[in-house]
Amino acid sequence: MRAFAVGGTAALLSVGLFLALWGSPPDAYQGEYVRIMYVHVPAAVSAYGAAAVAFGAGALYLWRRDRRWDFVGRAGAELAALFSGLTLLTGMLWGKPVWGVWWAWDARLVTTAVLFLLYVGCLLVRDLADDPERGRRLSAAVAVLAFLDVPVVHYSVVWFRTLHQGPSISLQGVKLAPEFLLPLAVNAVAYLALLSVLLAERARLASLEGER
């Protein structure tokens, strides 16, 4: 099962990469830089997913005090930091050629940076607590708190006037040409599969560390 999941994810990522590099035409305005979107958007979706896992597992750990939820919560918090950091990095790489700046003081960018910092804090609290059980509890509390930022990140482009474009895919419809939508959808699925595999592997590793 594990080998199947890893193999399937690797295959999905390969197809996603192929579609992003060769299956998608260049954009009329952004040119070849549109290809960064095929990493940036899936990374952002994965960051939301990891944050949701860290929130759910954190809340369940605080309620039930079952170590298994802590293993999942730890993996979720680490991956939320990783994917939100990747979202920021790819956004900056795209921003320089398209916007002309690495960084803009924009609500979406700032709230994403806040999300990244909160998960860094979550991981530090765990490592620096004066006893391991307290560290687990405190980091679960920070994970619950940090998740409150996710809707703010997502809706910041709706609530505020921002440089960052609004959502291209929403309940109101899809504002993306099919030739861009397919690579984006495949990459989003591939990244979510990668997130699931990394979550499972990291939680397993955390449980092995916990058993020592």
Binding site: L62, V110, V114, L128, A140, V144, L148, V152, W159
Partner: protein
């Protein structure tokens, strides 16, 4: 003992210690004043920089003030004693929150006066500013009370406090700056009252619940 009496007793204890020692208001206020000076110096001290300088100084002073109550209990070893008293630990949260709100209001008022003098900032729209300060204080107090309890048992807690507090309270900073600007110019406030109210509601609802879990022995 009824809940409100426990809340009042904790708040009274914190405020009495603060009144006698002044070890939160004076250092945090002086630090906030130093931040105002530095920001005034680098920005040229123009009136347009005044709202940003005020709210940044309030936020940074709040980081220090929020941590002080928890530090005091750690230094004097009274934290465990306080936790042993019967009744809900939520009351501890509300007592500390109340005391911290008073301290933050004093700090905000002092820093506002300093900002008016240093930046020659307009004093129009006092009603808007007072309401914004009250709402901001309620939210900052809740976030500060929760996070101070959270970092109390963490190595390098004083370093982690700003790392958690500043990102979490960015909405208050933004809303405070924008509302101060609109108070001075008379422009419409836009979504910023809503931002402050939602921030307050979130932290006042989540804060006491997480506080109970965080302070467990």
């Amino acid at each position: 003992m009824k809940a409100w009496r426990r809340v009042a007793a904790v708040a009274r204890k914190d405020l009495l210690l603060e009144w006698r020692g002044r070890d939160a208001v004076l250092p945090a206020g002086s630090f906030g004043f130093a931040v105002l000076l530095v920001l005034g110096l680098v920005s040229g001290g123009g009136g347009e920089a005044a709202p940003s300088a005020l709210w940044v100084s309030v936020l940074l002073a709040a980081v220090l003030a929020a941590g002080r109550g928890a530090d005091r209990e750690g230094e004097e070893g009274t934290r465990e004693v306080l936790l042993l008293y019967p009744g809900s630990r939520e009351d501890l949260f509300w007592g500390r929150w109340l005391a911290l709100c008073v301290v933050l209001l004093v700090l905000a008022a002092g820093l506002w006066c300093a900002q008016v003098l240093l930046f020659d900032a307009p004093t129009r729209g006092a009603g808007v500013l007072i309401l914004a300060a009250l709402l901001a204080t309620a939210g900052l107090g809740a976030a500060g009370t929760l996070l101070a309890a959270l970092v109390a048992h963490v190595r390098a807690g004083p370093l982690l406090m700003p790392l958690l507090f500043l990102p979490a309270t960015v909405p208050v900073l933004l809303a405070g700056v924008r509302l101060s600007e609109t108070a001075a110019s008379g422009a419409p406030a836009g979504p910023w009252w809503g931002v402050l109210v939602v921030f307050d509601l979130l932290f006042l609802l989540v804060g006491p619940v997480l506080f109970e879990l965080v302070v467990e022995g």
